[in-house]
Protein backbone atom coordinates (compact mmCIF):
# COMPACT_ATOMS: atom_id res chain seq x y z
CA UNK A 1 0.00 0.00 0.00
CA UNK A 2 1.37 3.41 -0.92
CA UNK A 3 2.42 5.62 1.98
CA UNK A 4 -0.15 8.30 1.12
CA UNK A 5 -2.93 5.72 1.06
CA UNK A 6 -1.69 4.19 4.30
CA UNK A 7 -1.56 7.65 5.87
CA UNK A 8 -5.13 8.35 4.79
CA UNK A 9 -6.40 5.03 6.07
CA UNK A 10 -4.87 5.68 9.49
CA UNK A 11 -5.80 9.34 9.79
CA UNK A 12 -9.36 8.78 8.64
CA UNK A 13 -9.96 5.72 10.81
CA UNK A 14 -13.63 5.60 11.83
CA UNK A 15 -13.93 5.76 15.61
CA UNK A 16 -16.00 2.61 15.61
CA UNK A 17 -13.53 0.55 13.57
CA UNK A 18 -11.07 -1.75 15.40
CA UNK A 19 -8.24 0.63 14.54
CA UNK A 20 -10.31 3.65 15.52
CA UNK A 21 -11.16 2.10 18.88
CA UNK A 22 -7.44 1.71 19.55
CA UNK A 23 -6.60 5.20 18.32
CA UNK A 24 -9.23 6.84 20.52
CA UNK A 25 -7.30 5.55 23.53
CA UNK A 26 -4.42 7.73 22.42
CA UNK A 27 -3.77 11.40 21.96
CA UNK A 28 -3.21 11.34 18.21
CA UNK A 29 -1.00 13.95 16.63
CA UNK A 30 0.09 14.35 13.04
CA UNK A 31 3.11 16.55 12.41
CA UNK A 32 3.88 17.62 8.86
CA UNK A 33 6.55 20.28 9.42
CA UNK A 34 9.94 19.07 10.56
CA UNK A 35 11.38 22.49 11.53
CA UNK A 36 11.10 21.92 15.28
CA UNK A 37 11.42 18.14 15.51
CA UNK A 38 13.79 16.89 18.16
CA UNK A 39 15.93 14.82 15.81
CA UNK A 40 17.78 13.16 18.67
CA UNK A 41 14.64 11.86 20.38
CA UNK A 42 12.87 11.03 17.13
CA UNK A 43 15.90 9.68 15.30
CA UNK A 44 14.95 7.35 12.47
CA UNK A 45 15.70 6.56 8.86
CA UNK A 46 15.00 9.99 7.41
CA UNK A 47 14.27 8.54 3.97
CA UNK A 48 10.77 7.71 5.14
CA UNK A 49 7.94 10.07 4.34
CA UNK A 50 5.78 8.39 6.97
CA UNK A 51 6.83 7.22 10.42
CA UNK A 52 5.15 6.75 13.77
CA UNK A 53 6.13 6.82 17.43
CA UNK A 54 4.18 5.73 20.47
CA UNK A 55 5.30 7.52 23.59
CA UNK A 56 4.04 9.11 26.79
CA UNK A 57 3.85 12.64 28.12
CA UNK A 58 7.28 12.17 29.75
CA UNK A 59 8.57 11.70 26.19
CA UNK A 60 9.51 8.09 26.79
CA UNK A 61 9.22 6.25 23.50
CA UNK A 62 7.51 2.87 23.86
CA UNK A 63 7.89 1.81 20.25
CA UNK A 64 8.43 2.93 16.68
CA UNK A 65 6.39 2.02 13.65
CA UNK A 66 7.54 2.31 10.06
CA UNK A 67 10.85 1.81 8.36
CA UNK A 68 11.71 0.77 4.86
CA UNK A 69 14.34 -1.03 2.83
CA UNK A 70 15.73 -0.87 -0.69
CA UNK A 71 12.63 -2.59 -2.10
CA UNK A 72 10.49 0.45 -1.45
CA UNK A 73 9.13 2.91 1.12
CA UNK A 74 6.16 0.72 1.98
CA UNK A 75 7.90 -2.60 2.60
CA UNK A 76 6.85 -2.69 6.24
CA UNK A 77 3.68 -0.58 6.31
CA UNK A 78 0.64 -2.71 7.00
CA UNK A 79 -2.74 -1.91 8.51
CA UNK A 80 -2.78 -5.15 10.51
CA UNK A 81 0.64 -4.70 12.02
CA UNK A 82 -0.07 -1.09 12.96
CA UNK A 83 -3.03 -2.32 14.99
CA UNK A 84 -0.70 -4.77 16.76
CA UNK A 85 1.62 -1.85 17.47
CA UNK A 86 -1.25 0.26 18.80
CA UNK A 87 -2.33 -2.57 21.11
CA UNK A 88 1.22 -3.10 22.35
CA UNK A 89 1.59 0.62 22.96
CA UNK A 90 -1.43 0.55 25.27
CA UNK A 91 0.00 -2.46 27.13
CA UNK A 92 3.34 -0.72 27.60
CA UNK A 93 1.63 2.47 28.76
CA UNK A 94 -0.30 0.55 31.41
CA UNK A 95 2.95 -1.00 32.59
CA UNK A 96 4.60 2.39 32.68
CA UNK A 97 1.77 3.86 34.74
CA UNK A 98 1.98 0.91 37.15
CA UNK A 99 5.73 1.36 37.55
CA UNK A 100 6.51 -1.92 35.78
CA UNK A 101 8.42 -0.35 32.91
CA UNK A 102 11.81 1.18 33.57
CA UNK A 103 12.25 4.81 32.64
CA UNK A 104 14.70 5.36 29.82
CA UNK A 105 17.14 8.21 29.56
CA UNK A 106 16.02 10.92 27.20
CA UNK A 107 18.70 11.91 24.67
CA UNK A 108 19.88 15.51 24.69
CA UNK A 109 17.57 17.44 22.37
CA UNK A 110 18.89 18.39 18.95
CA UNK A 111 17.06 20.29 16.24
CA UNK A 112 17.33 20.77 12.47
CA UNK A 113 18.48 24.37 12.99
CA UNK A 114 21.66 22.96 14.52
CA UNK A 115 22.72 21.55 11.13
CA UNK A 116 24.41 24.49 9.35
CA UNK A 117 24.11 23.28 5.72
CA UNK A 118 20.42 22.54 6.34
CA UNK A 119 19.93 26.07 7.62
CA UNK A 120 21.61 27.45 4.48
CA UNK A 121 19.59 25.14 2.23
CA UNK A 122 16.14 25.44 3.75
CA UNK A 123 15.58 27.80 6.65
CA UNK A 124 17.49 30.68 5.02
CA UNK A 125 15.48 30.21 1.81
CA UNK A 126 12.22 29.66 3.65
CA UNK A 127 11.94 26.23 2.07
CA UNK A 128 10.38 23.08 3.46
CA UNK A 129 12.58 20.98 5.75
CA UNK A 130 11.96 17.67 4.03
CA UNK A 131 12.63 14.58 6.11
CA UNK A 132 15.41 13.21 3.93
CA UNK A 133 17.17 16.59 3.96
CA UNK A 134 17.61 16.27 7.72
CA UNK A 135 19.51 13.02 7.30
CA UNK A 136 21.37 14.13 4.18
CA UNK A 137 22.59 17.46 5.49
CA UNK A 138 23.47 16.02 8.87
CA UNK A 139 25.92 13.79 6.99
CA UNK A 140 27.11 16.67 4.82
CA UNK A 141 27.85 18.62 8.00
CA UNK A 142 29.69 15.68 9.54
CA UNK A 143 31.75 15.38 6.36
CA UNK A 144 32.53 19.10 6.45
CA UNK A 145 33.75 19.02 10.05
CA UNK A 146 35.61 15.73 9.60
CA UNK A 147 33.56 13.50 11.89
CA UNK A 148 31.83 11.40 9.24
CA UNK A 149 32.12 7.63 9.69
CA UNK A 150 30.72 6.26 6.46
CA UNK A 151 30.39 2.67 7.63
CA UNK A 152 28.07 3.57 10.48
CA UNK A 153 26.54 6.78 9.18
CA UNK A 154 26.32 6.49 5.41
CA UNK A 155 25.54 2.79 5.66
CA UNK A 156 22.89 3.21 8.36
CA UNK A 157 19.90 0.91 8.52
CA UNK A 158 21.37 -2.45 7.54
CA UNK A 159 18.83 -4.84 6.09
CA UNK A 160 17.67 -7.81 8.19
CA UNK A 161 17.00 -9.72 4.99
CA UNK A 162 20.77 -9.99 4.55
CA UNK A 163 20.66 -12.20 7.66
CA UNK A 164 18.12 -14.40 5.91
CA UNK A 165 15.09 -13.07 7.78
CA UNK A 166 11.84 -12.53 5.93
CA UNK A 167 9.06 -11.21 8.16
CA UNK A 168 5.37 -11.95 7.90
CA UNK A 169 4.71 -8.22 7.67
CA UNK A 170 1.00 -8.16 8.66
CA UNK A 171 1.94 -10.08 11.80
CA UNK A 172 4.64 -7.70 12.94
CA UNK A 173 7.80 -9.50 13.99
CA UNK A 174 6.65 -13.02 13.15
CA UNK A 175 9.25 -14.75 10.99
CA UNK A 176 7.86 -15.94 7.67
CA UNK A 177 11.04 -17.50 6.38
CA UNK A 178 14.52 -18.05 7.83
CA UNK A 179 17.44 -18.67 5.49
CA UNK A 180 21.21 -18.36 5.47
CA UNK A 181 22.73 -17.14 8.76
CA UNK A 182 19.35 -16.94 10.53
CA UNK A 183 18.55 -20.53 9.60
CA UNK A 184 22.01 -21.69 10.67
CA UNK A 185 21.44 -20.03 14.05
CA UNK A 186 18.22 -22.02 14.49
CA UNK A 187 15.55 -19.50 13.55
CA UNK A 188 12.31 -21.00 12.30
CA UNK A 189 9.16 -19.73 10.58
CA UNK A 190 6.66 -18.69 13.23
CA UNK A 191 9.31 -17.43 15.65
CA UNK A 192 8.57 -13.95 16.98
CA UNK A 193 11.61 -11.69 17.25
CA UNK A 194 11.54 -10.25 20.76
CA UNK A 195 14.98 -8.71 21.41
CA UNK A 196 18.08 -7.47 19.61
CA UNK A 197 21.20 -7.94 21.72
CA UNK A 198 18.94 -7.95 24.79
CA UNK A 199 16.88 -4.86 23.90
CA UNK A 200 13.14 -5.56 23.54
CA UNK A 201 11.63 -4.82 20.14
CA UNK A 202 7.94 -4.75 19.28
CA UNK A 203 7.82 -3.67 15.66
CA UNK A 204 9.91 -3.70 12.51
CA UNK A 205 10.72 -0.04 13.27
CA UNK A 206 12.18 -1.08 16.63
CA UNK A 207 14.05 -3.98 15.07
CA UNK A 208 15.57 -1.78 12.38
CA UNK A 209 16.47 0.91 14.92
CA UNK A 210 18.25 -1.43 17.32
CA UNK A 211 19.85 -3.60 14.63
CA UNK A 212 21.46 -0.40 13.36
CA UNK A 213 23.05 0.03 16.81
CA UNK A 214 25.14 -3.13 16.36
CA UNK A 215 28.81 -2.10 16.05
CA UNK A 216 29.96 -2.51 12.47
CA UNK A 217 32.92 -4.65 13.53
CA UNK A 218 30.68 -7.11 15.40
CA UNK A 219 30.86 -10.73 14.26
CA UNK A 220 27.47 -11.75 15.57
CA UNK A 221 24.13 -10.36 16.71
CA UNK A 222 21.95 -12.04 19.31
CA UNK A 223 18.29 -12.16 18.39
CA UNK A 224 15.93 -13.47 21.03
CA UNK A 225 12.79 -15.11 19.73
CA UNK A 226 9.54 -16.25 21.29
CA UNK A 227 8.75 -19.79 20.18
CA UNK A 228 5.58 -21.16 21.76
CA UNK A 229 6.00 -20.74 25.52
CA UNK A 230 9.77 -20.51 25.30
CA UNK A 231 12.15 -17.67 24.69
CA UNK A 232 15.37 -18.53 22.88
CA UNK A 233 18.58 -16.65 22.21
CA UNK A 234 19.86 -17.11 18.68
CA UNK A 235 23.40 -15.86 18.05
CA UNK A 236 23.50 -15.05 14.35
CA UNK A 237 26.86 -14.86 12.63
CA UNK A 238 27.41 -11.60 10.78
CA UNK A 239 29.23 -12.04 7.51
CA UNK A 240 31.85 -9.60 6.25
CA UNK A 241 30.32 -6.27 5.24
CA UNK A 242 26.98 -7.26 6.76
CA UNK A 243 26.17 -3.54 7.05
CA UNK A 244 26.36 -2.97 3.32
CA UNK A 245 23.08 -1.79 1.80
CA UNK A 246 21.88 -0.45 -1.50
CA UNK A 247 22.25 3.33 -1.36
CA UNK A 248 20.70 4.01 -4.74
CA UNK A 249 17.31 5.05 -3.39
CA UNK A 250 18.92 7.42 -0.93
CA UNK A 251 19.72 11.00 -1.84
CA UNK A 252 22.95 11.28 0.08
CA UNK A 253 25.10 14.15 -1.14
CA UNK A 254 28.07 12.50 0.53
CA UNK A 255 27.81 9.31 -1.51
CA UNK A 256 30.43 9.57 -4.28
CA UNK A 257 28.60 8.07 -7.23
CA UNK A 258 30.92 6.39 -9.68
CA UNK A 259 28.13 5.07 -11.91
CA UNK A 260 29.32 1.50 -12.11
CA UNK A 261 28.91 -1.71 -10.18
CA UNK A 262 31.15 -4.74 -10.13
CA UNK A 263 31.57 -8.24 -8.77
CA UNK A 264 34.70 -9.27 -6.89
CA UNK A 265 37.03 -11.53 -8.85
CA UNK A 266 37.87 -14.94 -7.46
CA UNK A 267 41.45 -15.65 -6.43
CA UNK A 268 41.87 -17.82 -9.52
CA UNK A 269 40.69 -14.97 -11.74
CA UNK A 270 43.09 -12.57 -10.04
CA UNK A 271 45.97 -14.96 -10.61
CA UNK A 272 44.95 -15.25 -14.25
CA UNK A 273 45.16 -11.47 -14.64
CA UNK A 274 48.36 -11.35 -12.54
CA UNK A 275 46.92 -8.94 -9.99
CA UNK A 276 47.00 -8.97 -6.16
CA UNK A 277 45.00 -11.89 -4.81
CA UNK A 278 44.16 -9.93 -1.64
CA UNK A 279 43.08 -6.87 -3.58
CA UNK A 280 39.63 -5.56 -4.47
CA UNK A 281 39.88 -6.30 -8.20
CA UNK A 282 36.47 -6.79 -9.77
CA UNK A 283 34.65 -7.17 -13.06
CA UNK A 284 32.31 -4.36 -14.08
CA UNK A 285 28.76 -5.73 -14.19
CA UNK A 286 26.65 -2.63 -14.61
CA UNK A 287 27.10 0.89 -15.91
CA UNK A 288 24.99 3.53 -14.21
CA UNK A 289 22.40 5.42 -16.19
CA UNK A 290 24.17 8.77 -15.82
CA UNK A 291 27.64 7.54 -16.80
CA UNK A 292 27.41 8.61 -20.41
CA UNK A 293 25.20 11.64 -19.96
CA UNK A 294 27.42 13.15 -17.26
CA UNK A 295 30.67 11.85 -18.79
CA UNK A 296 31.57 10.13 -15.54
CA UNK A 297 33.79 7.49 -17.17
CA UNK A 298 34.15 5.27 -20.23
CA UNK A 299 34.00 1.89 -18.55
CA UNK A 300 32.34 -1.06 -20.24
CA UNK A 301 30.63 -4.07 -18.74
CA UNK A 302 33.28 -6.80 -18.56
CA UNK A 303 36.20 -4.45 -17.83
CA UNK A 304 38.44 -5.54 -14.95
CA UNK A 305 39.22 -2.77 -12.46
CA UNK A 306 42.04 -3.59 -10.07
CA UNK A 307 43.19 -0.30 -8.55
CA UNK A 308 41.90 3.15 -7.62
CA UNK A 309 44.51 5.91 -7.54
CA UNK A 310 47.14 3.17 -7.38
CA UNK A 311 45.56 1.44 -4.36
CA UNK A 312 44.71 -2.23 -4.90
CA UNK A 313 43.56 -3.42 -1.48
CA UNK A 314 41.55 -2.18 1.48
CA UNK A 315 40.52 -3.50 4.89
CA UNK A 316 36.80 -3.12 4.13
CA UNK A 317 36.21 -2.77 0.41
CA UNK A 318 36.03 -5.87 -1.78
CA UNK A 319 35.30 -3.96 -4.99
CA UNK A 320 36.64 -0.71 -6.48
CA UNK A 321 33.20 0.91 -6.42
CA UNK A 322 32.87 0.23 -2.69
CA UNK A 323 36.41 1.53 -2.19
CA UNK A 324 35.41 4.78 -3.89
CA UNK A 325 32.26 5.09 -1.76
CA UNK A 326 34.16 4.52 1.47
CA UNK A 327 37.43 6.30 0.84
CA UNK A 328 36.68 9.13 -1.57
CA UNK A 329 34.65 12.31 -1.41
CA UNK A 330 31.77 12.97 -3.78
CA UNK A 331 33.08 15.12 -6.64
CA UNK A 332 36.59 13.64 -6.55
CA UNK A 333 38.17 12.53 -9.79
CA UNK A 334 39.98 9.23 -9.40
CA UNK A 335 42.09 7.11 -11.74
CA UNK A 336 41.27 3.47 -12.25
CA UNK A 337 43.64 0.76 -13.40
CA UNK A 338 41.62 -1.21 -15.91
CA UNK A 339 42.17 -4.36 -17.96
CA UNK A 340 40.17 -4.48 -21.20
CA UNK A 341 40.65 -7.21 -23.77
CA UNK A 342 43.92 -8.15 -22.07
CA UNK A 343 45.32 -4.61 -22.28
CA UNK A 344 46.02 -2.47 -19.22
CA UNK A 345 44.98 1.15 -19.23
CA UNK A 346 44.35 4.12 -16.93
CA UNK A 347 40.88 5.56 -16.82
CA UNK A 348 39.66 8.69 -15.01
CA UNK A 349 36.32 8.63 -13.16
CA UNK A 350 34.67 11.86 -12.13
CA UNK A 351 32.51 10.92 -9.15
CA UNK A 352 29.16 12.61 -8.84
CA UNK A 353 27.50 14.40 -5.96
CA UNK A 354 23.72 14.38 -5.86
CA UNK A 355 23.27 18.13 -6.05
CA UNK A 356 20.50 18.03 -8.59
CA UNK A 357 18.08 16.38 -6.18
CA UNK A 358 18.51 19.13 -3.60
Amino acid sequence: MEARTFDAQVVLSPKTSPRGKLLTQYVCVRVTRMDDVDIALFDRDWVNTLYYFILNSDEQIYLRYGGRDARGPESYLDLNSIELALQKGLDLHRKYQQGELAKTERPKPRFPKEIPPLVERTFAKNQCVECHLIGDFDLVHKEQIGTLDKVTQMYRWPDIRALGIELDVPKGLVVKEAKDAALTAGMKPGDVIAKVNGTPVWTYGDLQYHYDKVPRDATQVKLTVDRGDRQMDLPIVLRERWWLTDLRFRQLSIDPRAEFESRPLTEAEKRKYEIQTKGFAAEVTRIGGFAQMLKVHELNVGDIVFAVDGVERDDLANTPDLYIKLRKTAGDTVTLDVIRDGKRMKMPVRTQRMYFRK
Binding site: P14, K15, V27, C28, V29, T32, Y52, E59, H93
Partner: protein, 56 residues
Protein backbone atom coordinates in the same frame (compact mmCIF):
# COMPACT_ATOMS: atom_id res chain seq x y z
CA UNK B 1 -6.61 23.49 23.53
CA UNK B 2 -7.30 23.35 19.87
CA UNK B 3 -8.73 20.02 18.78
CA UNK B 4 -9.67 19.83 15.18
CA UNK B 5 -10.20 17.61 12.22
CA UNK B 6 -7.68 17.74 9.49
CA UNK B 7 -7.96 20.39 6.90
CA UNK B 8 -6.17 17.88 4.70
CA UNK B 9 -8.96 15.34 4.84
CA UNK B 10 -10.37 16.46 1.55
CA UNK B 11 -6.95 16.39 -0.04
CA UNK B 12 -6.20 12.94 1.28
CA UNK B 13 -9.55 11.61 0.18
CA UNK B 14 -9.06 12.98 -3.28
CA UNK B 15 -5.79 11.08 -3.44
CA UNK B 16 -7.37 7.83 -2.40
CA UNK B 17 -10.06 7.08 -4.86
CA UNK B 18 -11.18 3.90 -3.11
CA UNK B 19 -11.47 5.59 0.23
CA UNK B 20 -15.00 5.65 1.65
CA UNK B 21 -16.50 9.01 2.28
CA UNK B 22 -16.63 9.62 6.03
CA UNK B 23 -18.48 12.19 8.00
CA UNK B 24 -16.00 14.19 10.08
CA UNK B 25 -17.54 13.26 13.40
CA UNK B 26 -17.08 9.58 12.70
CA UNK B 27 -13.32 9.72 12.46
CA UNK B 28 -10.57 9.85 15.04
CA UNK B 29 -9.48 13.30 16.23
CA UNK B 30 -5.95 14.48 15.54
CA UNK B 31 -3.85 17.35 16.80
CA UNK B 32 -1.24 19.04 14.67
CA UNK B 33 1.04 20.30 17.44
CA UNK B 34 3.45 18.07 19.32
CA UNK B 35 3.45 20.44 22.30
CA UNK B 36 -0.34 20.35 22.43
CA UNK B 37 -0.17 16.55 22.33
CA UNK B 38 2.17 16.45 25.31
CA UNK B 39 -0.16 18.77 27.25
CA UNK B 40 -3.21 16.72 26.33
CA UNK B 41 -1.48 13.47 27.24
CA UNK B 42 -0.56 14.87 30.64
CA UNK B 43 -4.16 15.96 31.19
CA UNK B 44 -5.77 12.73 30.05
CA UNK B 45 -3.02 10.28 31.08
CA UNK B 46 -3.25 8.78 27.62
CA UNK B 47 -0.26 7.68 25.56
CA UNK B 48 0.59 9.60 22.40
CA UNK B 49 0.38 8.25 18.87
CA UNK B 50 2.64 10.50 16.84
CA UNK B 51 2.71 10.51 13.07
CA UNK B 52 5.46 12.25 11.15
CA UNK B 53 4.31 12.84 7.61
CA UNK B 54 6.66 14.46 5.17
CA UNK B 55 4.40 15.42 2.32
CA UNK B 56 5.93 15.95 -1.07
Amino acid sequence: MRLFKFAVIAGLMSLVSSFPLLAEDDTVEWLSSYKDAIREAKRTQKPIFLEYRCEA
